[in-house]
Amino acid sequence: MIAIVDYGCGNLYSLQCSLNFLKLESQITSDPEVIKNADKIILPGVGAFGDAVKLLNNSGLAEVVKKEAAKGKYILGICLGMQLLFDKSYEYGEHQGLGLIKGEVCPLSGDIKGNLKIPHMGWNSLNIKDLSDPIFKYVKQGDFVYYVHSFYAKNCEKSLLATSDYEVTVPGLVKNKNVYGAQFHPEKSGDVGLNLLKAFAELEDN
């Protein structure tokens, strides 16, 4: 069973639909016991970093997720959920993240000098660094995924699995041991996204 962490941030309907479509058992939950008993954890999220991290901390779910990560459970953060995995974010102030992946989240507007639009919204292709990672079992080099975001992770070179070009190098998929993060929305990325979710569900402990 995959636990979809519900901490009051974002619409979880499509995500659960995509897991249902793949015939993967999932549960939208804010119950620490359910999260502890789950095989895998998805940390979703849409909205502002500061609000989200406050909700995660106040509900005690931040600690639960960190403990499960330390135990080696596979975790996938999506969009804001991915950004929350990093050390800190500079989205409207400075906020501490979960610190599960080294790096920080910064505004795209600070680094994009040309006429590109912000948010980075739409389909962009993946430049996969390490195709041997099991998360890419069903995905090809150059496949397109759907992004919607105005902030992006920086100084996370060691955790980069795949990036997309948008004047700057946007970290698309990152990984630190058993913790994965996707800046794009796999649940909105058509067959490519479904294939990534399927591969995530199939990840096995060494």
Binding site: Y13, S14, C17, G122, W123, N124, F144, Y146, L194
Partner: protein, 251 residues
């Protein structure tokens, strides 16, 4: 790099897809769920569902159709038509919509854009504009393109962006249904005034129209209905054609 998007629009009435020519003479086309499946398989980058009669007859959207589509099609879904309040946003977002398009609702209550952007994020709010030339000026029309509001469309687009709209749909009533190409002049006027993505709508008749649109650099996406519904243009072939002509495409 970011791909240009091809977006079929499904105008829905009574749970069925319809498409008018210049918004009149509506013909029944197909089931929205079947059509959505077909488009997803052909490589559509997003789907837009408009309840075209909602603002006129005050009908709610057919959320069952939306739920069915959202449970099996995993690309961005935009819903519009009859969106007048935050409750309307809530209703369609809970059924699987990713973005919500406001048109007449924003004309009646311009504060709706800002309120929705604050609650759901800019990326969620699409400002859809039906625009027609009146005495050499671009006017916003409401109620399915039936009523001239007298509002200056260029200013309306700028105000919409400032209020928090994350995307604009520019539908030219002058070119809609005529199938002789997008309204590049109108699009250029809008595009040059905003930074948010612009979706071009109205006038697509052949694949060259899309090439012309993207080569002109006046839109991030091209939206059409009847040419896709009646299979005059196949989306897969269109995208391959555009890619062969150096337009970045997800194929």
């Amino acid at each position: 790099m970011l791909a240009k998007r091809i977006i079929p629009c499904l105008d829905v009435r009574n749970g069925r897809v319809v498409k008018g020519v210049n918004f009149e003479g509506i013909k029944d086309v197909s089931s929205p769920v079947d059509l959505a499946r077909f488009y997803n398989k052909s490589g559509a980058d997003e789907l837009v569902f408009y309840d075209i009669t909602a603002s006129y007859e005050n009908r709610g959207l057919f959320t069952d159709v939306l739920k069915t589509v959202a449970s099996e099609i995993f690309i961005p879904l935009t819903v519009g038509g009859g969106i007048n309040t935050l409750d309307d946003f809530d209703r369609v977002l809970k059924c699987g919509a990713d973005k919500v398009s406001v048109n007449s609702g924003a004309i009646k209550n311009p504060a709706l854009i800002g309120e929705a952007a604050k609650k759901y994020g800019d990326q969620c709010v699409v400002l859809s504009m039906d625009i027609k030339r009146v005495d050499g000026k671009f006017h916003i029309f409401s109620t399915g393109g039936r009523v001239d509001t007298g509002i200056d469309a260029l200013q309306w687009a700028v105000n919409g962006e400032q209020s928090g709209a994350g995307e604009l749909v520019v539908n030219s009533i002058d070119t809609d249904g005529v199938k002789n190409g997008f309204d590049l002049e109108m699009l250029s006027e809008i595009q040059s005034r905003v930074k948010i993505p612009v979706i071009a709508s109205g006038g697509a008749g052949k694949r060259e129209d899309f090439l012309e649109l993207f080569k002109a650099g006046v839109a991030d996406a091209g939206l059409a209905a009847s040419v896709f519904h009646f299979k005059e243009i196949n989306i897969k072939e269109l995208k391959e054609y555009l890619k062969a002509n150096n337009i970045e495409m997800r194929v």
